[in-house]
Symmetry: C3
Subunit: 262 residues, 3 copies
Amino acid sequence: MINYWDDLQAIRRKRPLVHHLMNYVVMNDAANVTLAVGASPIMAHAREEVEELAAKADVLYINIGTLDDRWVESFILAGKAASRNNVPVLLDPVGAGATRFRTETVLRILDEVEVGVLKGNGGEMMALAGVAGMIKGVDSLGEASPEIAERLAREYGVTAVITGPRDYVSDGKRVAIVSNGTPMLQYITGSGCMVGSVIASFMAVNRDFLIASVEGLVTFEIAAEKAERKSSGPASLKVNLIDELYNMKPSDYEMARVELRG
Amino acid sequence: MINYWDDLQAIRRKRPLVHHLMNYVVMNDAANVTLAVGASPIMAHAREEVEELAAKADVLYINIGTLDDRWVESFILAGKAASRNNVPVLLDPVGAGATRFRTETVLRILDEVEVGVLKGNGGEMMALAGVAGMIKGVDSLGEASPEIAERLAREYGVTAVITGPRDYVSDGKRVAIVSNGTPMLQYITGSGCMVGSVIASFMAVNRDFLIASVEGLVTFEIAAEKAERKSSGPASLKVNLIDELYNMKPSDYEMARVELRG
Amino acid sequence: MINYWDDLQAIRRKRPLVHHLMNYVVMNDAANVTLAVGASPIMAHAREEVEELAAKADVLYINIGTLDDRWVESFILAGKAASRNNVPVLLDPVGAGATRFRTETVLRILDEVEVGVLKGNGGEMMALAGVAGMIKGVDSLGEASPEIAERLAREYGVTAVITGPRDYVSDGKRVAIVSNGTPMLQYITGSGCMVGSVIASFMAVNRDFLIASVEGLVTFEIAAEKAERKSSGPASLKVNLIDELYNMKPSDYEMARVELRG
């Protein structure tokens, strides 16, 4: 039993501060999505202040999308400050596997920061699984699957979330499969980053991160399904999606398509 | 008597150049809002060019939202160039009080730059009033009020604009209270930054900054009220708001709710 | 005969990787426009990875809009890596002529990088033509014209695209004039940058860059014309424009207004 609505109401009551180190492309959308679910976003990345902010945030969301050397320094500073203060951390390893710089940055964060949720798309997460199991080579990996999520969860001591047509979530023991959403989301840049903001908001009110991840995925994807009916393309879908997040009703969660195992 | 429409028409005739040092989150929206009221935005922050641009701009808008050490250097360079060339400056102290880095940056700009309008939300402006009157402690401050605006105006030699459900504007002698707008604006990230772009545009055509600030607030907030009637949430509100700014008519200003004192 | 539809379908089949070094203001819109025509955008600018990405991209789009010294370094690194690997380069010289820093940066890129398409508005392109022909002075230049495009094409060895009410395209031998579009596009910040993303997408499937440029201009501007009928201002126009790009049909290209000479 997942209490989607209760936890969404808890976000709206608590208005948790979600400190984003978010890529430039999606900063605006991520902030608006966070506001729409009732949380309070702050986008800040300067080394002069990230520790101070991360320490008092309710959740820290590190998204490496448009990283450079200065941002990497801030990822580490903010992440360590969060870890020292028991602030949960969500890490989005955007483009892991696409360049060495990204893969190395992700591995460094996973090594130096207490990451609660690691959320990426199939390609990114399989690249990280490949790195983790490098001695087996990459060929054996195949398609994204609940097993990859499980393996990543154990390897890195995180809750792993692999987004896609089906989303796979695992904390190393349990597995959840979420089948909501719509293919048109792929035509909105950063839709995966935005869902991260929703998951982060739920992490502020539910420390069972597997459940918080499912709540975030389901909330975002049901809003997308409702939005798509009113939309004529990806740009109107984005507008309607944020409106729908703002207007969620308890009955909307009847649309949830979730399978929980373990 | 405030000549809203005449001054809006003056913006559209003159197409003033509004040089923004704007945070990353709101750059796009601020540029679009500036265009919608008829002014010409330029977003540029490199130390190699900010002096050259600020010197020939009609207004300089410094918004510290996503500052770092390099941006701070540019705030000062651009601000001083504007001051030397009698270019009016609007300062938005985003997050003042939230971190030391922000508070110190704002105080440094207020010290080194000739700021015409200082515009922030209640929390930011009360933090700055607290710093200004530190010897009295912070507890005595209470809620934002016309008196805080008046005090900030005198303390820093600016026109102070405190945005909120009611906006308080003061130049240290006169006070204006603006009661337009809608609560849903709080769910649009950077709505306060966007109103800054509209105030800045009016500053280019009206050097009575108290009046220019009221004109900017009223124009933006009436557009928001009209937009809200057509909107089903904060994302459609933002789209409709920019469209309404573009479509302002003289009769729209009959909706203005402004109290002028002094 | 220009095969708009065939080439648009080729983009959708191939899903070319369009590496953007795009200004902060338009990053989000440019990525969404690129997705809407069926290509795959990546926004990345760190010196640690731009060479690796540009080398394997299908097209590199350098837009100098919000440049600073670090971005300039990345423009050069990415541009040279593209040149070494026969990856076509589109350069948008945003603000050329407005500051020395911009003009010098553009000239440096044109000197050190193999630029395929140089696309700017009238002011920018005339500034560059003025620099190229400095000994003749600037006064002789007059209005943007097919002749300026032709001259720039020869001077810099590029396909030159001058956007405006009429767009002028030349590769130094042929000239094309595109008369689609709507004046309201001027009220969308970065509409010129967005059209660059569409041209870049066509460059990935058609190495005749004059034709690819015309295809990009026509596709974007027809989508704008269709969008305008449904829009009540510039913000809804932007939403509808991206939706229309996503929904292009073969018959839409009957609206093309193109004159080809030479």
